[in-house]
Subunit: 421 residues, 2 copies
Amino acid sequence: MSRPANNIFYAQSGGVTAVINASACGVIETARKHPALGKVFAGRNGIIGALREELIDTSVESAATIASLRHTPAGAFGSCRYKLKGVDQNRAEYERLIEVFKAHDIGYFFYNGGGDSQDTANKVAQFSQQMNFPITCIGVPKTVDNDLPLTDTCPGFGSVAKYVAVSIREAGLDVASMCESSTKVFVMEVMGRHAGWIAGAAGLAAEQEGDAPHIIVFPEIAFDKAAFLAKVKDCVNKYGYCAIVVSEGAHYADGTFLADAGSKDAFGHVQLGGVAPTLATMIKAELGYKYHWAVSDYLQRAARHIASGTDVAQAYAMGKAAVELALAGKNAVMPIIVRESNTPYRWSVGEAKLSDVANVEKKMPRDFITADGFGITALAKEYFSPLIQGEDYPPYQNGLPQYARLQQVLVPKKLAAWTGK
Amino acid sequence: MSRPANNIFYAQSGGVTAVINASACGVIETARKHPALGKVFAGRNGIIGALREELIDTSVESAATIASLRHTPAGAFGSCRYKLKGVDQNRAEYERLIEVFKAHDIGYFFYNGGGDSQDTANKVAQFSQQMNFPITCIGVPKTVDNDLPLTDTCPGFGSVAKYVAVSIREAGLDVASMCESSTKVFVMEVMGRHAGWIAGAAGLAAEQEGDAPHIIVFPEIAFDKAAFLAKVKDCVNKYGYCAIVVSEGAHYADGTFLADAGSKDAFGHVQLGGVAPTLATMIKAELGYKYHWAVSDYLQRAARHIASGTDVAQAYAMGKAAVELALAGKNAVMPIIVRESNTPYRWSVGEAKLSDVANVEKKMPRDFITADGFGITALAKEYFSPLIQGEDYPPYQNGLPQYARLQQVLVPKKLAAWTGK
């Protein structure tokens, strides 16, 4: 090898967040400061970009453009839903990765994603050793679902938590205004197929008796229709209205998702992703209340305009720490967020082995959920509250947030086209 | 009459907005400065509060609490969907209103609502004359739908416009990130049953070729399925994805709402309010693209956290002007917003007769919509753009916006209970 393999390959993976680009910003700004490191190449559409040899050259972007990634939501380089299989099942993919890394003098792989991605990064670290082209693989944590183990929280979660808490507070006031003569029940569906962290965080909006949300439906608790309807009725009797937050993963005791329970669309297909309308119409049918419902979907995880300051700072810190861990000679690790204290909230950066992170899903502890299963406890609030603190507004022009526009210049290809995909 | 009838009755009407309380703030703060005026009583749940003699005494609230109404969404005193019938059909209601006004020395009625409400205010002005207890009736414009005539815009609209433009910009970036291997089509449903102003404003998010939203579906244009699907396909081919904004009032040429076109819920009821999932599943069925969809519902009109500075200022100004018009001896009028110039944007306060405002619905002009019916023109952007300018963030504590909490003290009743409702 005539040149040192000191370039960096950075890739975004899985569902994007309001702050994943802040991690990218942390990686690129930190790497630019270290003369031992080469260029940062970002995978176009994540790991697919490595397989296809579509590498975005971030070195052509100005410092100002890179800085603006900090306040830009979604994945600026493109992400993907593509999980590398095990080496035994698809060795060719791993060989291709190493081939591309070799061709472009890439010695570092920073993978910005959730549990699956950290599993992949770990495998690449091992395989590259075997191939005698050792790649330093560092994970950068990311997921709105907050389901990674070891780290106190995942960048991306704090901002969606803030979005859902602010939204249900605002919509709750709306319903309270109208309930005497109109809508009495409002159902807001939030993300979280397996873990109820996002739904739980919405509970922060309730500070006083009677505040919205009155009911939270978690995927951790089997849905009990009778108890749910009784609680809805009780809320309407007591407060005049009922504001409900439901996790998309809410399900019956037998595992059937509420959203799958029979709704068909105009074409006769079972309609997924509609747990909010399902609950709303259930309430109407059983209790007769007028309802409204909302499904924020991508809006919640892309809502950089209402990002948590804590979350943005942590996302950036994780990107920065990834580079620093690599420079310190670490491999197959991921920086994590360590909570030092709640009051005042203090956190530091720790590290975890990728092998300990991969494929473990952290659910809401039972003691974060009230005994009746429809709310969060003081312990949960103590955990959630610091994560939504601080406002980190993007710059605006003509009334709209100004988000980064990259040139997306690809590094010239050196290899034959990849035929695997 | 031993005392002068110089108290004010203020009521909120119809669907609430992010800034209707800013108008209330304008009314109350302005009234407090004028010694000729008595107390401001707010109707609990709007006009229903007058009929039931449930009058909230705003004079017990501190100046700081009243000031905080300016940044508080929804209806702080409660609103209602309750339209007074014509005097001929329900004379008893009008007599009851006058009886309550008389009992509480109310000489002024400020009605904060849309076209229906201004019609009611106008009737009360006429009827009170006949009853020899003349009430000064002033309308205060409000509606997220932006469908009142004569005024350049309606307070409430600018903020929902900003919310939908910001949201589709953010969600568009999200879909762009994921489209290579996952979601290719995103559909966001917005309010507007008869007029497409809100859907149109989302078009501000598109500043460059390829920006979201790529398609807007208006209630002003009969839905052409073939043309729509062709455009979706074209967008996905050109940009890799397609971001769509659809008005809840979108309909076929025969008047059938898209949202009514066959979806049934788990209980066999026709499911309303789901035009976004209807379009999304139509696209999936016909073109095979993976989709996501969002329905913001109340979130969009309650989103004080992303309110337009222009809108907040205009909402406040309308409340203030209502009091000033009353003091100037005007009756049966409504302050309006007059656009003086676009560049720079300048506006002033004018006035309109309630009789000219009542029951007229202002739709999007055809020249605001592109020839193909799926976008907005430069002329529309010129109109919309100033209305979303400026950020007017509420104060935050512990990561959440702090909204007004009123004592809601009712004025002691003097009359027998109302038996009409």
